[in-house]
């Protein structure tokens, strides 16, 4: 739909814009054109009203010939041809108008006098059409930038939603159910240990609670969250669960989205260690180099383990959040090497003051 015809208000504004043009045409027809003022005014206003609508048609060739993508020859040909056709139509209309007016007393003989002004009218028609072409290109540019703005808005809303959804999904309720079951077991066999596990679980949950509202936390805080998580899991899995860490001290104050690594470690426990009869290790490594923070989470797993439900959802969440937040400045890759599963992440190492 034509953007000007789409709204009555816009159409009226557009027609208003033609009034000065009609005024100029009146002057042209009266002074160099040799018509009386009454004749010139009538002819100019009727023709301009008509031509206003003819010029609206320039929208379509403009749309079909985008400025950036069309060659110069095609651009010139399209619009010059358009101008000639439009102006030709205009002359034809002027001729009919002249004949109609000639039958009235006040305008007797106008048709022959108007015919002498045809070259003038034709040139004006061509110029006005080209003016309309320029006007429509401005219109197109405005519309494109408005669309781009809307797209950016929409993208940021989507990213935010994805982030919230991801955060909600992360503290896995089954982790809670299993932990409560362990506590229930310990209450009769080892009450102090049951109490210890309650406290560890409470500590972990409290740490995760406030995180949803934060945009970023230092890596150090995320790692201590992982420690709280593993302290609980360690009671469940006992010696089956071993954690190894290699953290570059310089990486500790780098900012990361909260709960970015915890789901990866949870995944490593649930899909790796939980399937190994003898258990195994999880390795966490982080280093900061050339403004990049790279983090690797590796774990042993059983390639022949029974298929588990929901595998990969945690990973997909982490990938999505990285994408939403850093775009292509972050990398996320998973790989399998024998019975070792590896997730490698890299993201821009931002310090506290640069994070909004």
């Amino acid at each position: 739909m034509h953007p000007i015809l789409a709204q009555l208000r816009r159409l009226l504004l557009y027609l208003l814009g033609w009034i000065p043009l009609a005024g100029m045409l009146t002057y042209l027809l009266a002074v160099p054109g040799g018509l009386s003022w009454l004749e010139a005014t009538t002819v100019a206003f009727v023709l301009c009203l008509l031509y206003a609508f003819v010029c609206l048609a320039a929208w379509y060739p403009c749309q079909a010939t985008p400025l950036e993508q069309s060659g110069l020859s095609r651009f010139l040909f399209t619009h010059v041809a358009g101008a000639l056709v439009a102006s030709g139509l205009w002359l034809f209309a002027a001729r009919i108008l002249g004949r109609m007016l000639a039958s009235l007393d006040d305008y007797r003989g106008i048709d022959t006098r108007l015919t002498k002004d045809f070259p003038l009218l034709f040139a004006t028609g061509v110029l006005l059409y080209l003016l309309a072409v320029g006007f429509h290109y401005v219109l197109l540019a405005v519309e494109a930038s408005r669309e781009a703005e809307a797209r950016v808005m929409q993208a940021s809303v989507l990213a935010r939603e994805a982030e919230l959804r991801a955060l909600k999904a992360q503290v896995n309720p089954h982790f809670l159910f299993n932990s409560l079951n362990s506590i229930s077991a310990l209450t009769t066999s080892d009450a102090p240990k049951a109490r210890e596990m309650c406290i560890l679980l409470g500590d972990f949950l409290r740490r995760t609670l406030g995180l949803g509202e934060k945009a970023a936390i230092p890596l150090e805080e995320e790692i201590s969250l992982i420690h709280a998580f593993l302290a609980v899991e360690k009671i469940r899995y006992g010696a089956r669960l071993q954690m190894e860490e290699k953290i570059d001290p310089e990486a500790l104050d780098a900012q990361v989205p909260p709960l970015l690594l915890q789901p990866l470690v949870e995944n490593a426990v649930g899909h790796g260690i939980a399937n190994l009869v003898e258990g195994g290790w999880i390795r966490l490594a982080a280093e900061r180099r050339d403004g990049e923070l790279s983090i690797v989470v590796e774990n042993l797993f059983d390639p022949e383990a029974p298929p588990r439900r929901k595998s990969g959802v945690g990973l997909a969440n982490v990938r999505q959040r990285l994408e939403a937040r850093y775009g292509n400045r972050a990398k996320f890759a998973t790989s399998v090497d024998g019975s070792c599963f590896r997730v490698a992440i890299s993201l821009p190492a931002e310090s506290k003051e640069r994070v909004p």
Binding site: R236, N275, V277, P306
Partner: protein, 256 residues
């Protein structure tokens, strides 16, 4: 139930977490009619113990190393009472489809546990009747739709083999069993060929004969055999019978 030792309910606990087994053991200790015959921490052990010790009742975790609870049940047969114990409610429907007596959610309460045990006793004494169906048929029917097998567990005595379906060459019906051919070896499994067919991805496996399913990747050529029938020749030279209907299906597949 009497306190007579011979009448005790022989019970097996299967869970990979020590503490989870501990809760079950504690709850069971309140019932003198229960005898815990063994505790297992993974699927392989569970199949071994269930086969050797023939328990009446199993408390079975679902997500475990080696084999999941459904695979364990599929291998040991359904002639015993099974109570699933898991933190995941998502398996409940599948559990009842394989005729589990009950489905307990962790953390387990004593009251709920006792109710499950009561149901198990009713089942064992024959009060709670369910149509006896071979476990394998059930396992096939209980598979979530649109999700085909990616591995087939088979049992030979007390040991378990896992055949990834990509390594399954063909399957042949033999009385009540199917013979699963993989890498030159054959493994017998108590299952009908139709239920196996239903569990395999139809874009990779095709029923070419009343008694035969073939892995399409292994088929090298089809040769005429007798008047109306054909044989399919596999990569290793094995020849399999192809019925008329099977031939039409196979042709349609190969022509695609």
């Amino acid at each position: 139930m009497t306190s007579d030792t011979s009448k005790k309910i022989r019970t097996l606990i299967v869970d990979d977490e020590d503490l989870a087994r501990q809760v079950l053991r504690e709850f069971l200790s309140a019932h003198p009619e229960i005898e815990i015959v063994a505790e297992c921490a993974n699927g392989f052990e569970a199949v071994k113990c269930a086969t050797e010790l023939e328990p009446d009742l199993l408390f079975l975790d679902i997500q475990m190393p080696k084999l999941d609870g459904f695979e364990v049940l599929e291998l040991i047969g359904a002639n015993r009472a099974v109570v699933f114990v898991t933190a995941y409610d998502a398996f409940a429907i599948r559990a009842f489809e394989v005729h589990a007596v009950d489905y307990l959610l962790k953390p387990i309460g004593a009251e709920r546990f006792n109710a499950a045990l009561e149901r198990a006793k009713e089942r064992l004494s024959g009060k709670l009747q369910t149509a006896p169906l071979p476990a394998m048929e059930l396992a096939a029917s209980a598979r979530p739709p649109s999700q085909y097998l990616d591995r087939i567990p088979v049992r030979d005595g007390t040991s378990v083999f896992i055949i990834p379906v990509a390594k399954l060459d063909y399957a042949e019906a033999q009385d009540d069993y199917v013979a699963l051919a993989s890498g030159g070896k054959k493994h017998l499994k108590q299952q009908t060929i139709s239920s196996l067919e239903a569990a395999l991805d139809p874009s990779r496996f095709l029923r070419i004969h009343r008694s035969c399913i073939v892995n399409l990747e292994r088929v090298v050529k089809i040769e005429p055999f007798g008047k109306d029938t054909h044989v399919a020749v596999l990569a290793g030279g094995t020849q399999l019978p192809v019925s008329r209907a099977g031939h039409a299906r196979l042709r349609a597949f190969l022509d695609r």
